[in-house]
């Protein structure tokens, strides 16, 4: 059964989606699992953990009710209150100042560091 993409049910915190999350597979910590993010989301805590989501939505596929962690929304909440990673801040500053995310580049120079979120 395909779930309508417009639907976004409220997470029931069953925990059935933990193992499919690639970020949880790295940290093995609940706060990085889809359920952990949903719990944090309901408390209103603004945390950089929201950036550590690949937006792959594998959790949504296995979720019995199709809950979507809405990574983009959680991140836009962070931006709204000015919570950014240092990498993010550098990238935005570079774009503003130099018109590219890499920083000052000489003509023809290939960037050595890619700064992104």
């Amino acid at each position: 059964m395909l779930i309508d993409l417009k639907e976004n049910s409220i997470c029931t915190e069953c925990g059935l989606c933990r193992e499919v999350c690639p970020v949880f597979q790295i940290y093995h910590q609940e706060e990085y699992s889809p359920r952990g993010r949903a719990i944090l989301g309901t408390t209103g805590i603004q945390t950089l953990i929201y950036y550590q989501c690949t937006l792959c939505r594998t959790c949504r596929v296995v979720c019995p009710i199709g809950h979507d962690p809405s990574g983009e929304t959680l991140r836009s909440g962070l931006i709204a209150v000015g919570v950014e990673t240092p990498a993010n801040q550098t990238m935005i500053a570079n774009i503003r100042q130099y018109g590219n995310p890499f920083g000052l580049l000489a003509e023809g120079e290939i960037p050595k560091t890619l700064t992104c979120c």
Binding site: C14, L16, E30
Partner: protein, 390 residues
Amino acid sequence: MMDRLESLLQPDQVSTQEETRVAYSRDASRIQGECRAVVWPETVTDVVRLAQWAAETGIDLVPRGAGTGLCGGATPQNSVVVDSARLRQMDVLNIQLKQVVVEAGVPLDQLNMNLRSAGLFLPVIPGSHRSATIGGMIATNAAGLHAVRYGRMANWVENIIVVNGNGQVQCLAGSERSNSAGWEGITGMIVQATLRLTECPGKRSLTLLSFENLRIMLDQIDTLKTNPELSAMEYVNPNAAIMVGWAAKHTLLIEYHNSDGEIKDPEEISIIWRGRESLSARLTQAGYPVSEDPQIPPEAQEEILGWLFAQEIPVFGHLGVGILHPRFLPDDPRIPELYGRVSVAGGRINGEHGMGLKKRRWASEALKKDFHALKTQFDPHHVFNRGKLC
């Protein structure tokens, strides 16, 4: 005290950050608690150090697997949560003996996926099989979707390695296994177990039977159970059936490990199972978040299931072993009424989820007596799961 905790382990094995404490403040029951810190042991020695630290400081430890428990067993009460998620080694597979040695934090589905090439599997399959860990399943003596054929987790455990409340490492084998299996972590943290396995079924088939009349359905059960290849007998009552788009009838989902069932197409079988397995989350979403788990003796099933249906309470569960899951709103006065009916009928109010925090006030005198004897023997300082069960 927390500084000393941090000095016991590597920095990335301890967290007192707000995000972590919030995410670990409850399990799937959503019974809320207070978490002081979370630790992720990577060796048995880490767990021994933690138990010694807890005995010295008086702070209690809550062992946690996947946190899929439904009675607050893994909910901390101003405790330190010990997450088994980094105890994930699968060690020795002995194909001749059909046994495997695994660490406590291995999720069931991951274990069974690894065993597939050997044609073996651990057949205790709770609805939470994607995530539930071996440690959590032993601690709760999990039953599940195929209990009618394979029984409960304790039947499949050869031995259990536990760190008790004195910080001693013990191997519980033979009759001693029952000092850990089913005791929800009150005697210590399970770190490893040797599990018995069985052959994967060659074939599977399924039959869905729907009934207008509950009595007529119950009359079929004994006959259906005579088939030696029966591997599941799940019940969905009319109030729950409509949640997955099935007819509003008393429905039996019967699975066989041969071709006796009417539905043989693997895709069709898996769609039906997905519907059945989605029921728990769907009912939570539909406003019935509290999952009960009475085990009802056959002679009382008509009376109690009939009463639940008349009350318009959705019910599903493992009818083959009498464990049913009526769903309620929190504090529904019909929950104690249900417990009363089940107790009078000689059933159990905790069929498979355990007692945890949710049911501790219902603990019987016999349970309290066993609890105190076990605590004295294994955990005299009440290091593990303080305040749970009783």
